[in-house]
């Protein structure tokens, strides 16, 4: 069995091997001398799929071949900048290489590691500014970020419990078990005002207190790792890059509320995260940090995995419990509070992955430290998955209160290809679209809901002028209709009718009454659905109707898609560039094009079936869609 003393010893021992890569945590130190060097390879979801294991092998081989000493190579969790992966950082200098292929490894070893010469062609494109080479923390993408939940992601080796311990891992658990009583832990959590990161933002401390105060012979702690929003991978990155941080948060919660059993409900589509969690749980048990009599304090807590089949609705707390209990994952009415009667009728705490990852730092550094970051309403940081039409797609963690503009333009690098920014969608299928005029809104729970969207779990999709807002609403609703569990009438029947209307509008068949019907459907679905899925399903429609009504009207009244995105509403035209070569007329499958040789041709828009064959055939680009 491990003692607190031994925990400290592991920390001391392990830190020695980690020296230079720890410079990543301490910007002051970057570039200073260190006793070793470190090649850090990103093993996040995006990069991992591009054979980073092989890249690592090649580094090890080549370094051995060159007889270099004191160079460590390791794969860590996600660096965040998935756009430019596979990414590599070299310490102590903090050089940031991107889009690394296995063929590039030899050159990096020979030049960078052997001769201290930076391989400029492999540098990340933002790591070079006006001929100056920037270390990674000065690259725009990272400058404004601040990491709590992702503190270890991109630094430690996710398969090493020792490296987790070296960065104060399990020290918070040791602290609560040896220095704090249960009520004190609850007080710290309440004071920190950590709000749930799974979507609704419920204060975590208050939730824990409810279960803490409720007497029962058995209580449960559940980590919600169902993460089903399209495009979201915040929780996945934490679980893959720093699994112990979640286990430690759960154990602290178990101690505080008086539970000895935790479950992690994770989707089976996350096999890598499942594997790393299994490894982490095994390691923690072997070290006596999970299981019976943890750290010799008499506290018992163990964690098991439960794999979900990947239904979005199973992320809803009550559906999740139904699923763990072996039933069909359908939400149940909230007759009792989960913290009183949850899983198998016992007091249960359900928190999100990111919520749990925030717990240990709060315990170690205190509630005041946590509240010094972020805003009064929403202390701390939030992880976002930045996607869509933005240059730097990837994972970012910023203090709450950072504005949308800072996230999208300063960190995300703005839109791509010179296109104009149009809106940002936050909160996934439960969220809304925010137009440009609100870009200076600080990101926190209250501010986002005030402008008709939600924080949600952290999806952030940037839209530009070529995105049709009706079609975006249709896209999200299509998702919801597919994912509705089918239990309650407003969600099952109502969302389907909404989707049918949106489809009609994007196909140019919409009527003015359809707009009214959308609004009344939105109201009934929102106000009367059983669970959060239905209650928020109309948000993408409501917010786009509010901010982009003229776009809906253009589709309905003028049969026109201003963004030029709805295929059915586009028409093909031949411009004056036409040289009369007749190619288009010969390629049109329905003979809709007429014209004499060497004269301008014309498309009969009535006959045209919009297949686009003419556009492809035209040698001078004279055919346009509008």
């Amino acid at each position: 069995m491990m003692t607190v003393e031994e925990l400290r010893k592991i920390k001391e021992e392990t830190l020695k091997h980690m020296e230079s890569k720890l410079y990543k945590l301490d910007k002051e130190k970057i570039g200073q001398k260190a006793t070793n060097r470190h090649v850090l390879i990103c093993g996040g979801p995006g990069c991992y799929s591009s054979n980073v294991e092989e890249i690592k092998e090649r580094f090890v081989e080549k370094i051995a071949e060159k007889g270099l000493e004191n160079v460590e190579v390791s794969i860590s969790g996600c660096f965040g900048l998935c756009e430019s992966g596979p990414n590599i950082e070299i310490y102590p200098d903090g050089t940031f290489y991107s889009r690394i292929k296995i063929e590039d490894v030899d050159e990096i070893v020979e030049k960078h590691l052997c001769q201290n010469e930076i391989v400029e062609r492999l540098l990340n494109e933002d790591a070079k500014k006006e001929d100056k080479i920037l270390p990674v923390h000065q690259v725009d993408f990272y400058k404004k970020q601040e990491k709590i939940a992702l503190r270890n992601c991109g630094i430690i080796d996710y398969n090493s419990i020792e490296e987790y311990i070296a960065l104060d891992g399990y020290h918070a658990l040791a602290k609560v078990l040896t220095e704090m009583d249960r009520g004190e832990v609850i007080e710290v959590m309440k004071k920190s005002n950590l709000r749930g990161r799974g979507g609704a933002g419920f204060p975590t401390g208050r939730k824990w207190e409810t279960a803490y105060k409720y007497e029962a012979d058995k209580k449960y702690v559940i980590c919600n790792a169902d993460e089903g929003d399209p495009g979201a991978f915040m929780d996945r990155s934490i679980l893959e890059g720093d699994p112990h941080s979640v286990l430690e948060g759960m154990a602290i919660c178990g101690y505080a509320v008086g539970s000895d059993q935790g479950y992690i409900y994770i989707r089976a589509e996350y096999p890598v995260a499942v594997k790393r969690l299994r490894t982490a749980i095994k390691q923690a048990r072997e070290k006596g940090l999970l299981g019976k009599n943890i750290l010799g304090t008499g506290f018992n807590f163990d964690i098991e995995l439960r794999l979900g089949a990947g239904a979005f609705v199973c992320g809803e707390g009550t559906a999740l419990m139904e699923s763990i209990e072996g039933r069909r994952g359908m939400p149940r009415p909230k007759v009792e509070r989960t913290a009183h009667k949850g899983l198998w009728g016992k007091p249960t705490i359900i928190n999100n992955v990111e919520t749990f990852a925030n717990v240990a730092p709060i315990i170690l550094k205190g509630a005041d430290w946590f509240r010094s970051i972020g805003t009064e309403d929403s202390p701390g940081t939030k992880v976002f998955a930045l996607g869509g039409k933005v240059k730097n797609t990837g994972l970012v963690e910023v203090p709450m209160g950072t504005t949308l503009r800072e996230i999208i333009f300063d960190i995300g690098g703005g839109t791509v290809g010179g296109k104009k920014f149009k809106a940002v969608q936050t909160g996934g299928p439960s969220g809304g679209c925010i137009p440009e005029e609100f870009l200076d809104t600080p990101v926190d729970f209250a501010s986002l809901s005030k402008i008709g969207s939600i924080m949600g779990s952290g999806g952030m999709i940037v839209l530009d002028e070529s995105d049709c807002m009706v079609d975006i609403a249709r896209f999200f609703l299509d998702f919801t209709v597919d994912e509705s569990c089918g239990k309650c009438v407003p969600c099952r029947e109502g969302t389907k009718r909404m989707l049918e209307i949106l489809e009609r509008i994007t196909e140019g068949e919409g009527t003015p009454e359809d707009l009214d019907r959308l609004e009344s459907l939105a109201e009934i679905i929102t106000s009367s659905s059983l669970c959060g899925l239905g209650q928020t399903a109309a948000n993408p429609v409501v917010s786009t109707l509010k901010y982009f009504r003229e776009e809906y009207e253009a589709h309905v009244y003028e049969k026109r898609c201003p963004a030029g995105s709805c295929q059915a509403l586009l028409q093909y035209f031949i411009t004056d560039k036409c040289i009369g070569c007749t190619k288009c007329a010969r390629n049109c499958p329905v003979s809709a094009i007429s014209g004499k040789v060497k004269e301008k041709h014309v498309i009969d828009t009535e006959t045209c079936i919009k297949c686009g064959a003419c556009m492809e055939a035209c040698p001078v680009g004279a055919i346009i869609k509008k």
Binding site: R332, V335, E483, S484, G486, C488, E493, I524, S528
Partner: protein
């Protein structure tokens, strides 16, 4: 348990704390429309028709699954409530066949009743509808998916008998259906034709086939009888029309009564003037059978015949 006093539509009522609003309302004669609620079944809150306004709550609350608290003030027919119910009924009708003229359930159907009460009508639209899957494989139960409103009562009542659990939900969202086992026909499935599901279905999605064409609900004279086959003594109704007993149907099972086919057939045999042909399921196939076999009297009758023949010499034609 302590009592609490609440006000429902300006009527005061005192009930044990922990009572659901819908039950408290019944105490003062207020009926709140409900399609998925059944006091004998687990509460699921699926149909959302029982929404009521509770003072102090921003959102409408479901009366079937919200417990009363002392001093609660409830409005069950406010403008907001009525509007929501109309919309929900409309969503249901938009996905329900307009077949009330000939539907066996007409007159007893809850959807019909509430649509009438809230003045909601069928309307034309070209959106999707539930597929018209009709399962005619069983001689006892007709399952018409197109009429199902997915209240889930059938699934819940079926699951109450441990060795049955035949009906389940399948698929998701708009494509959700009630299926037997792994989407088998009633004939192929493990369905034992106890008709529990038929007794709870609020619409014409699960019908007692032996009742079909025998008359409209308002034409029947109903006599309640108890089954004599076993000690549970399940409740049945003998339906007569023009002075003739034409059908027997099971009443909703309560107090742990299981209902079974043998009990129903026995009751038919006892009361009906002309009992219909009995069927028996063997290896996933329904076959016509004799009454003595259907009632499980094979050996007994042989024995009886043997004995009676000796003593009376009378011949029976089983």
């Amino acid at each position: 348990m302590a009592n609490v006093t609440i006000t429902i539509d300006s009527k005061k009522v005192t009930v044990p704390s922990g009572t659901f609003i819908i039950e408290a309302a019944k105490e003062v004669g207020i009926e709140i429309p409900a399609l998925c609620y059944d006091p004998n079944l687990e509460v699921v809150g699926a149909c959302r028709l029982c929404l009521v306004e509770v003072e102090g709550s921003r959102k409408l609350q479901t009366a079937c699954s919200t417990k009363v608290w002392d001093g609660m003030v409830v409005h069950t027919r406010s403008e907001r409530v009525v509007k929501a119910r109309k919309e929900i009924l409309q969503l249901l009708l938009d996905n329900h066949p307009n077949d009330c003229l000939t539907c066996q359930k007409a007159g007893e159907c809850l959807l019909q009743k509430y649509a009438y009460e809230y003045d909601v009508k069928f309307r034309e639209h070209d959106g999707d509808r539930r597929p018209a899957l009709v399962d005619t494989s069983s001689p006892y139960i007709l399952k018409d998916d197109s009429k199902c409103i997915l209240c889930g009562k059938c699934v819940r009542t079926c699951a109450q008998v441990a060795d049955r659990q035949v009906l389940t939900f399948a698929n998701r969202g708009f494509n959700t259906r009630i299926v037997a086992d792994i989407d088998l026909s009633l004939e192929e499935s493990s369905c034992v034709s106890c008709n529990r599901c038929v007794t709870v279905c609020p619409v014409g999605a699960l019908l007692d086939k032996r009742l079909m064409g025998k008359g409209r609900p308002w034409e029947f004279e109903i006599k309640e009888v108890k089954c004599k086959v076993c000690e549970y003594g399940c409740d049945f109704e003998v339906l007569s029309r023009n002075g003739k007993n034409v059908a027997v149907r099971a009443k909703a099972p309560s107090n742990g009564r299981p209902l079974c086919l043998k009990g129903r057939l026995t009751t038919e045999f006892i009361y009906l003037d002309e009992p219909y042909t009995p069927y028996k399921k063997e290896n996933g196939e329904f076959k016509e059978t004799t009454w003595k076999e259907a009632l499980g009297l094979d050996n007994i009758i042989e024995k009886l015949l043997d004995k009676e023949e000796i003593s009376t010499g009378v011949e029976y034609n089983g």
